[in-house]
C-alpha cells in the first residue's frame, strides 16, 4: 500500500517539476522575445535619420548600417551625419532672428615643415588645435 502511495507521490512530484520547467521555459522565451523586440525598436530608431529633399520640399527618412562605428577616418558617415544635423538646423534657421552667435575654430591647413616641435610656441599652437579637433570629433 505504502509502495503504491510512494510511487504516486513520485509521479506527482515529477509532473509538478516537469510542469514548472515548461512554464519557466515559456516565461523565459516570452521575456527574450520581448527584450529582442525592444532592442530592435531601439536600433531602428537609432539608425534612422531624416534628410531634406529640396525638390519635393519634404523629408526623406534614411537608415544606415547598425554595425557601423564612427571613427575619425570614416568621412562618408560623418558627412552624412553633418548633413542630417544641418537639415534640422536649417529648418530652425528659416525663422527670423534678432541675434546669432557663431564660433569658428582655427585652421591647421597652413602647418608645414617649418612648424616643428623644436619651437615651443608652434608646439603649443599645434596642441591647442589638436584639442579643438578632438572636441569636434567627440561632438559627432
Amino acid at each position: 500500500m505504502s509502495g503504491t502511495r510512494g510511487s504516486a507521490d513520485k509521479q506527482f512530484i515529477a509532473a509538478v517539476a516537469a510542469g514548472s520547467a515548461v512554464a519557466g521555459a515559456a516565461i523565459a522565451v516570452a521575456a527574450m522575445k520581448m527584450l529582442s523586440k525592444n532592442n530592435n525598436l531601439e536600433r531602428k530608431s537609432r539608425s534612422s535619420v531624416a534628410l531634406y529633399n529640396q525638390d519635393e520640399d519634404d523629408y526623406i527618412v534614411m537608415t544606415r548600417k547598425e554595425s557601423q562605428v564612427i571613427l575619425p577616418h570614416n568621412h562618408e558617415e560623418k558627412m552624412r551625419r553633418r548633413i542630417a544635423q544641418r537639415v534640422a538646423v536649417e529648418q530652425e534657421n528659416s525663422t527670423p532672428r534678432k541675434s546669432v552667435t557663431v564660433k569658428v575654430p582655427a585652421t591647421s591647413a597652413n602647418f608645414g615643415p617649418g612648424c616643428t616641435f623644436r619651437n615651443p610656441r608652434c608646439l603649443i599652437m599645434m596642441f591647442q588645435i589638436l584639442l579643438t579637433n578632438l572636441n569636434f570629433f567627440t561632438q559627432l
Binding site: 544641418r86 536649417e90 557663431v102 585652421t107
Partner: protein, 137 residues
C-alpha cells in the same frame, strides 16, 4: 582656439572686439565680418540691416591660423542665419561659393581655409540648436 562672434540687429553699427588682434582689427565696414554678412544678405536677396558685432578672438593674428578667414566665415554664417536663408542640403559647396566670391588679400590662401572652417562650423556651431525631432543618431 576659437573666434566667437555675436551678431545682432541694432539701431547703430558697432564692432566690439576683444582678444587677439583686437586693437588692429578695423572697426568699420571693411571688417571681414561685415563683408561676410553683407555677402550672405546679398545671396539671400534681402536688404542688409544695421548690425552690431561682438567679437572674442582667440585665434592669433597673422600667424597662419586662419583668423581672417574665420572672420569671413563667421560673418557669412551669421548673415545667413539672420536673413533666414536656407542653403540647399549639400550646402557646404554653396557656402564655399559665397566665401570664394568675396575679394580678400591675395596673400591669404583663403580657399583652403574656408573649406575647413565651413566643415567645422556646420559641425559645431550652428548645430548648437539641433531639432532632435528629425534625427535620432
Amino acid at each position: 582656439m576659437w573666434t566667437e562672434v555675436t551678431v545682432e540687429r541694432s539701431d547703430k553699427f558697432e564692432i566690439v572686439a576683444e582678444g587677439e588682434g583686437a586693437d588692429a582689427m578695423p572697426k568699420d565696414e571693411s571688417n571681414y565680418l561685415c563683408v561676410g554678412a553683407k555677402a550672405a544678405f546679398e545671396v539671400a536677396g534681402k536688404e542688409f540691416p544695421t548690425l552690431r558685432y561682438s567679437v572674442v578672438s582667440r585665434i592669433p593674428y597673422a600667424r597662419g591660423l586662419g583668423s581672417s578667414s574665420a572672420g569671413i566665415v563667421a560673418g557669412i554664417i551669421a548673415g545667413l542665419v539672420l536673413a533666414g536663408h536656407r542653403l540647399p542640403c549639400w550646402g557646404s559647396e554653396a557656402l564655399l561659393q559665397i566665401a570664394a566670391g568675396i575679394e580678400v588679400r591675395k596673400e591669404i590662401h583663403v580657399i583652403n581655409q574656408f573649406e575647413i572652417h565651413v566643415i567645422h562650423q556646420f559641425e559645431i556651431h550652428v548645430i548648437n540648436r539641433i531639432d532632435t525631432r528629425f534625427m535620432n543618431l
